[in-house]
Amino acid sequence: MFTCMSNPVTPASQLILRLTGTLDYNGQLAEPASLSNISDSGVEMNDPGVRDSSSPQTPPPRRHFVQVVLGSGFIAAAVAFVYPVIRYLIPPKVSDLGSDSVVAGHVGELKPNTGKVFRFGSRPGLLVRGADGEYHAMSAVCTHLGCTVQYREDLRRVWCACHNGMYDLNGRNVSGPPPRPLDLFEVQVRNDEIFVRRRREA
């Protein structure tokens, strides 16, 4: 009923079969609980009864083929899983999310009475250095129809090129079509970096 196999070489299959001591059995049993042929120590049965005549050291070509396929498959699949995980674990260069607080610029980058557009989360923001040297930061999305505003040095106002909307340095809509002021952001200068942060709600 039970036929034996010669000793397979691939570590994986060996491990499984060694563990269970079932080197010699096919999958089916004659009766439900007749498992007496397995020794509890899990050592393989020393009943060769091999079909082919090749020695245990060089398994027959077909078995070797199976071992190669299985082994290389396991290794390839393992690499396919481990490689992305290893790459994942290495932190990306930009570690911050850039949504709550961003570096909008550096000290000295902006002359007084100039402005610059920077990225704040997924929307543009405007950093303005007033003529008195003070920094102001606000959303750069015009409240009229969404164009990106800019700072006009000649007018000393925040201006929207689309329909001539004007805001003052506090974001208040002072002229033109915009119906609402621009959202103001908090500015903090730390060392030589200018941090812009969303206003904390009261």
Partner: protein, 421 residues
């Protein structure tokens, strides 16, 4: 000592009644008695004014009565007394007298200060300068007087949405006469303004989006001093809102050229009433272009127009290309929100260029378009990179599926092997 229940009830009843009387008397004091309505609310037109109608009138709400305009005695129940010459009864106001009548109060700052200090008091003097005012003075009774636009007896404040002179209703009010070809026959001016205006972006903004800053008839023509702006001054009117375009136009060679040719500034290209949303087709030398109204092949303007059009087209298609590829990447599941945000800058540049072309100066237009070209090119590349990343992922998937396939095949073979010996 002990009061019976009835007695208490009676006391309460008396108190209640006297309170009523006091209240009624009080209300009578604050409101002027207006007996005219007692009869006139039941009379047919043209004598009829219902109390309900009159209650909507702002004059009535402020405490004025029929007598305030028509004279007479509004407190008397006797028609002979109420409508007596002695009481100053004017009867139906002669059309020619209406502006003077209204102006009697509305031009008196001291009087108006009692009701609303911030109301203007120059309506009558403005009216006298208007086409309507001048023609009325010359004897034309067909022109508009105060009551034609403001209504009468149910006159509402302009900020009331039901008022005939509320911004959303102004065009309809003007059209009452000005769109009536029969009525306007003798004046020999067009009557298609209302129809044209309804096609315009200003109409869409005002009526569609509820943007009260959008112009209606009175914004450009004036309300009380209504007259068409002269050909030379049209540009000034438009420039009240379209400042940037007007400044650029004024600095362009067109300003001088239009003035000497007697052309009406902005209206030359944009029309006066049917101001539709300009497309890039307006520019250049194509079929719908406005430039070819004056320019012909061979002249410098023709060439410049063509070049500007071409550049606009290039930027537009560059933006569209970037937009398409980013959309494709996004639909494949790639995250491209950064690039899409950046592309809005390119769209802004295109918008700016479409304004700058009022200078008719190719170099200036190109300068404004350059950031747009840069951004759209960059974003197109981002889109391509996203698609490349997508393909890389699919290759990776294929490879890992091959590996998994190998394992599965191997396992199957192995199972077969151990189960067949």
């Amino acid at each position: 000592m002990a009061t019976s229940r009835n007695s208490v009830g009676a006391r309460i009843g008396c108190l209640f009644l006297s309170a009523c009387v006091v209240l009624c008397a009080g209300s009578a004091l604050t409101q002027s008695k207006n007996t005219c309505l007692d009869c006139h609310s039941n009379l047919p037109a043209p004598f009829g004014v219902t109390a309900e109608t009159f209650s909507q009138d702002i004059h009535a709400q402020k405490g004025l009565t029929c007598a305030s305009c028509h004279g007479g005695d509004s407190t008397s129940d006797d028609p002979k007394v109420a409508m007596s010459k002695k009481a100053g009864w004017k009867g139906k106001i002669d059309r020619k007298q209406i502006p003077q009548l209204c102006g009697g109060c509305h031009s008196d700052p001291a009087y108006m200060r009692q009701y609303n200090p911030s109301l203007r008091t120059d309506q009558l003097s403005q009216y006298k300068t208007s086409v309507h005012g001048k023609r009325l003075a010359a004897g034309d009774m067909k022109v508009a007087v105060c009551t034609d636009c403001h209504s009468v007896h149910d006159l509402r404040a302009p900020n009331d949405l039901q008022s005939k002179v509320n911004p959303v209703n102004v065009a309809t009010t003007c059209a009452h006469c000005h769109a009536d070809a029969e009525y306007m026959k003798s004046y020999k001016i067009p009557t298609d303004q209302f129809e044209e205006y309804n096609k315009s972006v200003h109409h869409d903004a005002l009526m569609g989006r509820g943007d009260l800053s959008a112009p209606t008839c009175s914004t450009c023509h004036g309300n009380h001093g209504a007259a068409p702006p002269g050909v030379e001054s049209v540009a000034n009117v438009c420039s009240n809102c379209h400042v940037f375009q007007a400044q650029l136009f004024a600095a362009s060679p067109h300003k001088q050229a239009f003035t000497s040719a007697g052309l009406p500034g902005c209206v030359t290209c944009h029309s006066n009433h049917a101001i539709v949303h300009p497309t890039d087709e307006f520019v250049g030398t194509g079929e719908k272009a406005v430039c070819t109204q004056c320019h012909t092949q061979g002249d410098e303007g023709y060439a410049t127009a063509g070049e500007i059009k071409e550049k606009l087209g290039q930027l537009s298609s560059s933006i569209n290309r970037a937009n398409d590829i980013l959309g494709k990447a996004e639909r494949s599941g790639m995250e491209v929100s950064d690039a899409k945000l950046d592309l809005t800058q390119a769209k802004d540049a295109l918008t700016k260029a479409r304004v700058t072309l009022h200078t008719a100066d190719l170099t200036k237009v190109e300068a404004d378009m350059k950031p747009g070209f840069d951004a759209s090119a960059k974003d197109y590349d981002a889109g391509k990179r996203a698609l490349a990343e997508r393909d890389y992922r699919r290759v990776g998937l294929a490879l890992s599926l091959v590996a998994i396939g190998l394992v599965i095949v191997g396992l199957r073979l192995y199972i077969k092997q151990i189960e067949q010996g």
